[in-house]
Symmetry: C3
Subunit: 135 residues, 3 copies
């Protein structure tokens, strides 16, 4: 089963979507199987990360922004704005898709795991995720 989700993002950063994905699993009535998420963009990522201390996600974003800064003289692709090429590189360093087992009708996440859409651009907007639910 395929579902198409549209996620409104307020800007750059990690946005938790665990509840949205769990709701999609619930609506599909899947008890055991595999849930695969695929983001249809190349300047946003999907990430499993700690959902407890928000400082973890803040440090993670700062670390990636330092590793992949804007306005690096290496970039020749500049015409879509200073946050575009860093977004493509961060996308390559992280994940475009996630597969999470489903057991007992729920995503088999660990206690401290949340699912995040990582927006790498600075502007607000909607991002499209395709969800596949299989046995």
């Amino acid at each position: 089963m395929i579902k198409h989700l549209s996620i409104d993002v307020p800007g750059q950063g990690l946005h938790e979507i665990t509840d949205r994905i769990q709701a999609a699993v619930h609506e599909a009535g899947i008890k055991e199987g595999l849930c695969t998420l695929f983001v249809q963009h190349t300047s946003a990522s999907l990430l499993i990360q700690e959902n407890a201390d928000p400082a973890v996600r803040r440090d993670l974003e700062h670390w990636f922004n330092r590793l992949v800064p804007e306005n690096d003289p290496l970039y020749t692709h500049q015409n879509e704005g200073p946050d575009d090429m860093p977004g493509h590189i961060k996308s390559a360093l992280t994940a475009t898709h996630l597969s999470i087992p489903v057991a007992g009708g729920r995503l088999a996440l660990g206690t401290w795991q949340g699912i995040y859409l990582w927006e790498h651009r600075r502007s607000r907007g909607a991002r499209r995720i395709v969800v596949h639910l299989g046995a």
Copy 2:
């Protein structure tokens, strides 16, 4: 259903394989499901990346080559050539497998997404990809 593909690569860099994978989906007659690609090597990766401006892919390669240079004095594994250990590290930083939903008989890629085999070695040759197509 499992298919084995052999991809001829002319050398280091990103080589688009979207049409090859779409053809495999078409031949399998799958209308809705999940297509998983797995590269059977540890010095090549699979990547979803922008298929529009070639400067994006060029900058991406240059950025990774700067982050993971050849002849880093840290490397002790040198006997397979200066491009081997950087290839293993780039492989760990990116993806060995990709799962892409299939809808309406086609890969559910975003408008600007292409599928690339990223060859990290400098030599030309053939790379093996295993494709799994499931409901």
Copy 3:
């Protein structure tokens, strides 16, 4: 089919789990399909990497430890120890899940590929992996 594995890890580093996963595939009696591994933690990763020369894995660990050092003044999340925040970053840079095709009753790995659990924390302990086996 879902299986839950507990992997004892002796400490930080790459620990091969290929045999454990192959055994799970064998027990399930799957001849052709897809095997997906999901690690239920955010400071450990799953990795496909070369299983031949151990120097490759040693260099890989040293390279990641240099890229993501402990005690970076950027980190504000310090209360779980100096190895915790690097673990979360390494987890984001690598993979929380792997999907490997199964053909002829065996994982369709390349000749030199092994499956590793990458423990990013320094302490010994058990890590949970959920295995999904589908057609």
